[in-house]
């Protein structure tokens, strides 16, 4: 185990953390704004990946162009889910919404399986499997693109939350839904918009997953759990925290994977998070809920 291998693992992991951030941002947003543990988030990502796969192939366009259409579709799907599935049970505490999301996850996985079979798929572009050499370290181009997109997306989300009316309304609804309602904010609509936005971001996450790795109908769980790990590390609904948590997870996994072997790559984050939660049951930066 040389210093070179470790630093290569760390650097690659850090860049991969950008991809994690894009995938976790929506999850974090939903968790932060409405306290909903969106266990179906992984399936939203996988749906995004499938739609991008088929649309980009059918139209013969670059996957990132197709993502615009996919994001629009997922925005609508997200709005409908929040409006018809989650909003009606939000008043009754956390469990009904959590278990409804669980139900959605079953539905999504079996529909994926039915329409798109168990075949492993990945989204291909000319550049998706290429890489560059920096200090003799091989860096996949997709990692660099993901990292850049994560920074842009996080900055955009931050500006949106602080500068626009809708962002301010969302933050008001987060702090105190009842008072926000009294102040004339339509909290149900804020929730629907938040979920829709999160789903649209998941479209981009799905594209990145599909181009960088591969996916099958049951891939969602791994990505949802990564989202959870990141939210615990970085604090929920906190955009900068989500980005930091994602980069940290990526780097730690990169180093751990270099030491233990790639088979254990996904296990490392889970073990770390269990240890973190033992020390701080509501997350590193989390507040008591």
């Amino acid at each position: 185990m040389s210093f070179f291998t470790l630093s290569a693992g760390a650097l690659n992991g850090l860049l991969l953390g950008g991809l994690y951030a894009v995938c976790a941002l929506g999850f974090s947003l939903i968790f932060g704004v409405m306290g909903l543990m969106n266990v179906v988030h992984g399936e939203l990502l996988v749906l995004g990946a499938y739609l991008c796969f088929f649309i980009s192939r059918a139209l013969g366009v670059d996957p990132f162009i197709a993502t615009i259409a996919v994001a629009a579709i997922l925005f609508a799907v997200g709005w409908l889910l929040q409006w018809f599935v989650f909003n009606p049970v939000m008043q009754r505490g956390i469990e009904p919404a959590l278990l409804s999301a669980f139900g959605l996850s079953i539905i999504a996985q079996s529909l994926f399986l039915f329409y798109w079979t168990t075949n492993t798929r990945s989204i291909n572009a000319r550049y998706s499997q290429t890489g560059v050499q920096v200090f003799n370290i091989h860096l996949p181009v997709m990692y660099l693109i993901s990292f850049g997109l994560a920074l842009v997306l996080a900055a955009g989300a931050h500006l949106f939350m602080t500068r626009t009316y809708f962002g301010k309304a969302t933050r008001a609804a987060t702090q105190d839904p009842e008072t926000a309602q009294v102040m004339g904010i339509n909290v149900k609509r804020v929730y629907a918009f938040t979920y829709a936005l999160a789903a649209a971001i998941a479209a981009l996450g799905g594209t990145l997953i599909g181009m960088t790795f591969s996916f099958v109908p049951s891939s969602g769980l791994t990505w949802m759990l990564k989202g959870f790990v990141i939210v615990v590390l970085g604090g929920m609904g906190n955009i900068a925290g989500t980005l930091a948590g994602a980069l940290l997870l990526g780097a730690v996994e990169g180093v751990g994977g270099a030491i233990l072997g790639t088979g254990y790559h996904d296990l490392i984050g889970l073990v770390i998070i269990l240890l973190v939660l033992v020390a701080r049951p509501t997350g590193l930066l989390g507040r008591a809920r």
């Binding site: 009904p96 409804s100 539905i107 959870f228 998070i273 939660l277």
Partner: protein, 314 residues
């Protein structure tokens, strides 16, 4: 409750028991297999219900405990030549030991964190088992053909596990522990203030659930004859267990049984559309949570005619 009614209940119960014992002699192989699956589901559902329905601990880690039981049984049967009953028992035991080890950290989580904590635990186990060469990593392991038993034997064993776990839950609820569990489910802090040792109460329920789930996993591993981590540690075990309890009626004794029957029967009706079956149970789950949160049995129990028939019994 009148003496006549009690008497009638005992007769009905005896008839039911006789029917269940006679079933493998009467029905064909496939029906016996379906009933075996029913008992497997009932065992998982009852133990999950004790945690979620009474103590308010929503565990999303069923597949992890099920998998520990299955692999313990599989390893001891395949490598040490243990009889499958002993293997399954050890499976339950090891699953409970694992539960005892993780109990201290995992009980620090409240509500949603407990749910995700258990989910992470089972997913971590799955990834670990895919990589662990000792248990055959991703390929899993095969048990020798002669270690298996007849399908009737598996039916009876699983019937015992299901009936045993149901009766134990009934018994537990009548004890001080059961009262503590219900108090916990209502409000953890006030339960603590009233003198309930919340950690100990949760621990016993958790150990019980882990043991039953592990035994069920062990028996099922032997029944299958070969196991691999992808299907044994599949989250679907967790999903379907939660599904059956909620559809049947969470926090009741008959609910998990009705839910298991309902979901299995639905699966048979939709046998030609295997994948749609799961999607439809998902839709049902969401509809039940939204419109009848008490579940099928909870709804029946609350209705007026049920109260008249059953008196104030439950």
């Amino acid at each position: 409750m009148s003496a006549a009614r009690t008497y009638a209940q005992w007769v009905l119960l005896a008839l039911l028991a006789a029917a269940l014992i006679a079933a493998p002699q009467v029905f064909d192989r496939y029906t016996v297999f379906l009933l075996y699956l029913l008992w497997l589901n009932v065992a998982l559902a009852q133990s999950w219900n004790l945690l979620a329905g009474y103590a308010g601990l929503i565990s999303l880690g069923v597949s992890g405990f099920f998998g520990i039981g299955a692999y313990t049984a599989g390893m001891t049967i395949a490598h040490l030549g243990f009889p499958f009953l002993l293997g399954a028992f050890l499976g339950g035991l090891l699953s409970a030991v694992f539960a005892a080890i993780v109990a201290t950290p995992i009980f620090r989580f409240r509500g949603i964190y407990f749910a995700i904590g258990t989910l992470i635990l089972s997913e971590a186990l799955r990834i670990f088992m895919i990589n662990w060469k000792f248990t055959g990593s991703a390929e899993g392991l095969n048990m020798p053909l002669e270690s298996g038993a007849s399908s009737a034997t598996y039916y009876y064993v699983m019937l015992c596990v299901a009936a045993g776990s149901t009766l134990l839950v009934v018994a537990i609820l009548k004890t001080r522990l059961g009262m503590g569990l219900r108090a916990l489910g209502n409000n953890e802090s006030s339960a603590q203030n009233m003198g309930v040792n919340t950690f100990k109460t949760k621990l016993w329920a958790f150990l019980f659930a882990a043991f039953v789930t592990g035994v069920a996993g062990g028996v099922h591993a032997s029944k299958m004859g070969s196991i691999e981590p992808y299907s044994i540690f599949n989250t679907m075990w967790t999903l379907s267990t939660a599904n059956m309890v909620i559809i049947g009626g969470i926090g009741t004794i008959l609910g998990p049984i009705l839910g298991s029957i309902f979901v299995l029967a639905l699966g048979e009706l939709l046998a030609d559309y295997q994948t749609f079956h799961l999607a439809i149970t998902g839709v049902l789950l969401i509809l039940i949570i939204r419109f009848i949160p008490a579940g099928i049995w909870g709804e029946i129990r609350a209705s007026r005619w049920a109260r008249r028939i059953m008196g104030a019994a439950r």
